[in-house]
């Protein structure tokens, strides 16, 4: 059976992992390669590197950070933040990314989804959507949650899938960094609307939150950052918990090391 994926997100600025609350107030959490190595040992399924300041400061995701993380792991690696052009995406892939995540760039220039899908295959193109509850709908925000757009998250997810995205990385701005649980209603609405996998993000604070988003939220994967970075919980303990709840997860220490 296909496992539900647990993905660790490394929000990187100036080569260091940082983490904020509601996209603000960043605090440092360590070296990206060291964290990736630890998560790999603990049984993480995938790593996402997001250069959280890249879009705003118009900077490309740092190739050396990507390469340093890629050296540590033999797992899927996704890179986002500052991927504005095909050239940026090529640089990330050549540094060792298996997938690139497009956010603001896809909103500005949706054709980039198709261009990259044709070049690397849909499986390499993730469209990241930052959504916020607003007037009874889920509004899409650009530029790391700073710029409201007229788009609706469900409609945008459908369009991204139609244009050739392989996965949707869906972040709840309301829940990001709050540890109050994933926005299951948002995740279920988007996951039911598209035929491609949806990664839920924003709000992970307890093991129950993951169980909820994999059942009620219909998520195919769940992404978290701070819950893992500060050694509050190990990936291994989380997976054992989910396994106990009947949710299929990969537990590599049970078969091979």
């Amino acid at each position: 059976m296909l496992s539900k994926r647990i993905i660790a997100c490394l929000d990187v600025r100036d080569g260091r992992v940082v983490k904020g609350i509601n996209f603000e107030g960043l605090r440092e959490a360590g070296d990206p390669a060291e964290l990736a190595r630890r998560y790999n040992v603990e049984g993480i399924d995938e790593i996402v590197i997001l250069d959280v300041t890249a879009t705003i400061e118009a900077r490309q995701a740092r190739a050396h950070t990507i390469a340093a993380v890629a050296r540590e792991i033999f797992l899927p690696l996704c890179v986002g933040g500052g991927i504005r052009t095909e050239k940026d995406a090529v640089a990330a892939v050549e540094a060792g990314a298996d997938k690139v995540s497009l956010n603001t760039a896809a909103l500005r220039q949706p054709a980039l989804i198709t261009t990259l899908g044709n070049r690397y295959g849909s499986q390499a193109v993730v469209v990241a959507i930052d959504a916020k509850r607003q007037d009874g709908r889920f509004a899409v925000y650009a530029r790391s949650g700073r710029a409201e757009t007229p788009r609706d998250a469900i409609e945008w997810a459908r369009e991204a899938a139609d244009r050739g995205a392989g996965e949707i990385l869906l972040t709840s701005i309301d829940r990001d960094g709050t540890k109050s649980g994933f926005d299951c209603a948002l995740t279920a609405a988007v996951s039911s609307a598209v035929g491609i996998p949806v990664i839920a993000s924003g709000g992970a604070g307890a093991f129950d939150h993951f169980a909820d988003v994999f059942t009620d939220g219909r998520a195919d994967a769940a992404l978290a950052a701070s819950i893992f970075h500060f050694n509050e919980h190990s990936v291994e303990a989380l997976k054992n918990f989910l396994h106990g709840r009947g949710i299929p997860v990969r537990r590599p220490w049970h078969v091979a090391r």
């Binding site: 890629a70 033999f74 499986q123 078969v255 091979a256 090391r257």
Partner: protein, 216 residues
């Protein structure tokens, strides 16, 4: 020395990295004729089956000749699909045809939704899924039944007599094959953690045996 065939189908960075990690010596031939000197051949691939059209008659002939010289061959993902006769993803592009059968699109038939009513399966099939072995093979020596590996694909090969491992996503498909010195994996062993590296080491052992035979 292993020939890692680069025909422009995506990025070989992670395959190179995995080969380095298991101590394999390899190079990327720029012309089909260079395969003459190979003691192992890897055909990687991600994305669309249509890109395998770049493996033209000269590459096909060189790879078939290598097989006649008993050189182990490994196809990864689309590279494994290419070992079959073709794929409905690109009906005009023939596969190498060393394994009978044709690859088809996965069907989004209903799947369990962890205690909830079934929902249509997501396509592509992305993530870690388990292997069920059809029989003992060299490729999976030491790999426990049920081990999980990383998949990302929308098309899959049928179960055939060469199938070494199957995986179920809606329906069972050929996750890996082994037929003599021809091997293939639908999953990405280069992204499948320690299990993936073990499978790559197992394949490499075949190359080393072939090296020893050639040295005689």
């Amino acid at each position: 020395m292993i020939a890692l065939v680069d025909y422009g189908a995506g990025n070989l960075t992670s395959v190179r990295k995995a080969l380095g990690a298991v101590g394999a010596r390899f190079w990327t031939p720029t012309r089909a004729s260079e395969i003459d000197g190979a003691t192992g051949v890897i055909v990687p691939g991600v994305g669309h089956f249509g890109v395998t059209a770049a493996l033209d008659d000269s590459w096909r002939a060189a790879i078939l000749e290598a097989m006649e010289r008993s050189v182990p061959l490994l196809g990864i993902c689309v590279g494994m699909q290419w070992l079959f006769e073709g794929s409905t993803e690109a009906p005009d592009v023939p596969g190498l045809g060393v394994v009978h059968g044709c690859c088809r699109r996965l069907e989004p038939r209903g799947a369990a939704n962890v205690g909830r009513p079934p929902v249509p399966l997501k396509i592509p099939h992305v993530g870690w899924n388990s292997l069920t072995f059809s029989r003992p093979t060299r490729l999976f020596a030491g790999v426990p039944d049920g081990a999980q590996v990383y998949f990302t694909h929308s098309y899959a090969a049928p179960l055939v007599s060469a199938t070494a491992a199957r995986t179920t996503y809606g329906a069972p498909f050929c996750a890996a094959l082994e037929d003599g010195l021809v091997s293939g994996v639908q999953f990405h062993l280069e992204k499948s953690g320690d299990v993936g590296l073990l499978i790559l080491r197992n394949w490499l052992a075949q190359v080393r045996v072939a090296d020893d035979v050639h040295a005689l």
